[in-house]
């Protein structure tokens, strides 16, 4: 794939409108990509052929303990450089080209590979980092420093399939019907510019996080400059990227629940807080004071995927559409109601996501485990590291 003269994400900030969708089975049962494909395809007019993609959770059960890296290469040199780098820091169990199918509408795809890897135990121990932080640093390195290589996803038992094109064509190209996942999200992009770069398509991911987003946040630079203090390099200059980093900072590093992280990002207004009883008002005031720069402003609707499930959030003024519906263990989310009904005509509880109120769907086993956990957050940095030397990633010791 040749590089065009038009600036890409990361070189320029490109606002875009979008379609988003998500489908999840709370029971953890896995479904192929057919439904999510039909759901996002219905919203064809909300994207303009300049980006589409899918995130899928539970697709690699045979390698569930290993980091699954999906990497897009624009050249052989890029692949050689990235693989040499990964070989140094990881032990690779398996690597292969991601199977794709030629599609008339998909032009000039990059060379797309996946790797199932564990952090190199000695180097991990020497880094002084936990494995998530270690992996994050290496993802940042590849994306920022290795020209022509882009890590599309880096979580466990999950993966992202994205590129330049309409989402239904991208889905066909990646043969997403062949994968079975307990949660799917999808994105169709309407950028105001034509970068035509596969790495710039969405979902955006980091570790197990994937984010699809429709909107343009006006707080972008305030959020960016906040997270950059803590080592999150906003290379792509996109809203989705900074929202992903906010979730990683608040939920993974600070140990808050995803729901609380979302609550911080779409905090109640001072008017609402002033009307609360004093203890609750003091709690909300403390959250808004400490995390003032994590407030996300302007129109947005997002679906965040993780190993826990899906989370949907709208800006607090509800300036973007996002619908939800249920049927048995299934939960459906989409920018348009029709995109839910096309795959589940008898869906129940069809409603719109309320502005500023996180909508959380956890897998049943995750929800059960969470119910027994402590209610106080514990920052990652306060957990003791256990330096095991082994092939499989070490676990954090309960302290």
């Amino acid at each position: 794939m040749t590089r065009r003269n038009i600036p890409r994400e990361g070189e320029v900030r490109i606002p875009s409108g979008c379609a988003i969708a998500g489908i999840m089975d709370r029971s953890g049962a896995r479904h192929d990509g057919g439904d999510i494909l039909r759901s996002i395809a219905l919203m064809h007019d909300r994207s303009n052929g300049l980006g589409g993609g899918f995130a899928a959770y539970g697709i690699y059960p045979d390698y569930a303990d290993l980091y699954a890296f999906h990497i897009m290469y624009e050249s052989r040199e890029a692949r050689a450089a990235a693989e040499a780098y990964l070989e140094h820091f990881y032990l690779c169990e398996k690597q292969e080209r991601i199977p794709t199918e030629e599609h008339p509408a998909i032009k000039n795809p990059p060379d797309i590979w996946r790797y199932f890897m564990a952090p190199h135990p000695m180097r991990l121990a020497a880094s002084g980092l936990d494995e998530a932080e270690y992996t994050m640093q290496h993802v940042f390195h590849i994306n920022g420093k290795i020209e022509g290589a882009f890590v599309a996803s880096s979580g466990k038992d999950m993966g992202v399939f994205k590129g330049v094109g309409y989402p239904e064509d991208i889905g066909a190209f990646y043969r997403i019907g062949d994968y079975r996942a307990w949660a799917w999200t999808a994105h169709g992009r309407f950028p105001t510019n034509t970068p035509g770069w596969w790495g710039g398509a969405h979902p955006f991911t980091l570790l197990n996080w994937s984010v699809v987003h429709n909107g343009e946040i006006s707080s972008y630079d305030a959020n960016r400059r906040y997270v950059e203090q803590f080592g999150y390099d906003c290379e792509l200059q996109t809203d989705t990227e900074v929202i992903t980093y906010l979730f990683d900072l608040l939920a993974r590093r600070h140990g808050l629940s995803q729901q609380m992280a979302a609550h911080i990002m779409a905090a109640p207004s001072w008017r609402e807080i002033d009307a609360m009883e004093p203890d609750r008002a003091a709690f909300e005031t403390a959250l808004r004071t400490v995390y003032a720069s994590a407030l996300v402003n302007g129109p947005f609707s997002i679906i965040v995927g993780s190993e826990e499930g899906l989370l949907a959030l709208n800006d607090r003024l509800k300036l973007r559409a996002l619908m939800v519906a249920e049927k048995g263990p299934m939960v459906y989310l989409a920018s348009e109601q029709a995109a839910i009904q096309v795959v589940c005509p008898d869906a129940e509880n069809v409603r719109s996501i309320e502005g500023g109120v996180p909508f959380v769907v956890q897998r049943d086993d995750v929800a059960a485990a969470k119910a027994g956990e402590a209610a106080e957050n514990r920052a990652v940095r306060d957990w003791p590291l256990e330096h095991e030397v082994g092939v499989l990633p070490r676990k954090r010791r309960e302290a």
Binding site: Y220, D221, R225, A292, N297, G298
Partner: protein, 504 residues
């Protein structure tokens, strides 16, 4: 010509429209400088232009609009080097052998970076927000914060309480102005306005007069190098304490309130003998380095039971970013940076006009440095010194300030006309004077109403501008430099300000 010959030409010429003048002598009563004098025979008012400082009190209060003040019409030499002002300064010093004194912010034509920063507005891809329809939040809190908040999510309570915080309903406070440099009535006006607006005023380094104690919940108590009026009661009465290291208008030097201004009230408030000079040394003599500042901060925190935030104010100087970073690490809860165009009651003219740097550059550099070090979110940052209007406030917040303080603007709202003659003590507006006849001209309630009007108007404008950017909380404006674009700036200036050029 001997040494005492006055070669200095008058600065202004006061012109009376004799046809309009009714001889009511309002101007005579207005002027404490003796510009207008009533002569009995024949019955007319004569003018001494040499005494005029251009405070415009007589112009505003002339019922017939018969007065105008013009520049003294003497033509200059034509030299760009030896301007009339440059020569007048030399003539004054040749005559007196003294340091030139002046007041308020520098009038010198240094770049005003605010005027080179343009704001953004939403079009098409996201909507602007109408402040008449939607909440538009201007509330900010000042104080230090932990990086990570420890909470109990189930019980919805904070596990480790936050350090003390100040709640500002508007991101605008009033700068430190002491009793002595301004009148008690002017201080009362600021106290009333701060209370009404839900923000804070600052008593300056002259102690807190007992009349201000009812407003102490909205007061910063200042601890400056002279330590005037400082005792445990003073510290514990105020809402917050500010350690003044420097002032933008006169970085690196102290202050001198002459004995004639130390009347009984000032004497009691400052805790010094009546008639004695109040001299603030250039440095704090217990702070010769950053670790000494930490000791003072914690002495104050001990004295106040860790219930009050402690701010440290510095003048914007060349190394402000590194200094501010050090301050954040000494335990300062709020960093105040005061730019060199900021006002003063009295400063040596050369210091005022030549020392320090613009607040815009200092603010941008400090905010970026604190972010580079990952500590920006843990401390508050206040900018002051030449904030002229609501757009300046928005620009300052977008560059990285949590809030701004205004001094000159608040005084102008009360009547100040920036004549820069504060140090004479003959302020006709009753602001920068202790003369009873003059201070009585400033009624605190009326002056407070004007200040409240000003800040309310600015707040409405700030809300309009935020709404235009698609932002409905000032939190999302703070440090949001993408909302700014530079015009007429060079690469280095853009780099320091951290903004792109218009069109980029």
């Amino acid at each position: 010509m001997d040494a005492t010959t006055n070669c200095v030409l008058p600065r202004y010429r006061v012109v009376r429209d004799e046809a309009a003048c009714t001889g009511c002598a309002q101007c005579v009563r207005s002027c404490a400088n003796g510009v207008h004098r009533l002569r009995k025979d024949p019955d007319r008012i004569v003018i001494n232009s040499r005494a005029c400082v251009n405070c415009q009190r007589c112009v505003v209060f002339c019922p017939e609009l018969a007065l105008t003040i013009r520049p003294w019409p003497q033509v200059g030499t034509g030299s760009s080097t030896w301007t009339a002002e440059a020569m007048a300064d030399i003539a004054k010093q040749a005559q007196t052998g003294a340091v030139l004194l002046s007041s308020m912010g520098t009038p010198a034509p240094y770049p005003i970076y605010w005027d080179h920063l343009l704001l953004n507005a939403s079009q098409v891809t996201n909507p602007s927000i109408d402040p008449l329809r939607e909440p538009m939040e201007t509330r900010v809190f000042l104080g230090s914060r932990p990086e990570i908040l420890k909470i109990n999510e189930r019980e919805r309570r904070v596990v480790e309480p936050l350090p003390p915080q100040l709640k500002l309903d508007v991101p605008i406070m009033f700068s430190a102005m002491s009793f002595g440099s301004i009148s008690l009535n002017a201080q009362k006006a600021l106290a009333l306005a701060a209370t009404e607006l839900g923000t804070f005023f600052n008593v300056g380094e002259g102690g807190m007069h007992c009349d201000l104690e009812p407003f102490a919940d909205h007061a910063f108590a200042q601890v400056a190098s002279g330590r005037f009026g400082v005792d445990a009661h003073y510290l514990n009465t105020a809402a917050a304490i500010e350690i003044k290291i420097g002032q933008g208008a006169k970085p690196g030097i102290g202050g001198h309130l002459p004995g004639e201004k130390i009347n009984s009230e000032v004497s009691r408030t400052r805790m010094i003998p009546e008639g004695s000079d109040a001299i603030s040394p250039a440095p704090h003599h217990d702070i010769y380095s950053i670790e000494d500042l930490r000791q003072l901060i914690f002495s104050i925190k001990e004295a106040t039971g860790y219930r009050k935030p402690v701010a440290v104010k510095i003048a914007a100087v060349h190394n402000a970013a590194a200094i501010a970073s050090g301050m954040a690490r000494t335990g300062a809860d709020i960093i105040v940076v005061d730019g060199f165009r900021g006002g003063t009651g009295a400063a040596p003219k050369r210091i005022r006009d030549a020392v320090g740097i613009p607040v815009e550059l200092a603010l941008a550099a400090i905010d970026q440095r604190l972010r580079d070090e990952g500590i920006r979110s843990m401390v508050s940052l206040v900018a002051s010194g030449s904030i002229r209007n609501s757009a300046d406030v928005v620009r300052a917040i977008a560059l990285g300030a949590d809030a701004c303080s205004i001094g000159s603007a608040a005084l102008i709202a009360m009547g100040c006309h920036q004549c820069r003659d504060c140090s004479s003590g003959r302020c006709n507006w009753g602001i920068a004077t202790q003369r009873a006849a003059l201070t009585a001209r400033l009624r605190p309630e009326e002056a407070a109403e004007r200040v409240v009007n000003l800040v309310r108007a600015w707040t409405a404008e700030i809300q309009e501008m935020m709404g235009g950017m698609g932002i409905n909380a000032v939190d999302s404006l703070r440090g949001n430099r993408l909302m700014l674009r530079g015009v007429g700036l060079n690469e280095k200036e853009l780099d320091i300000l951290g903004v792109k050029y218009a069109g980029e």
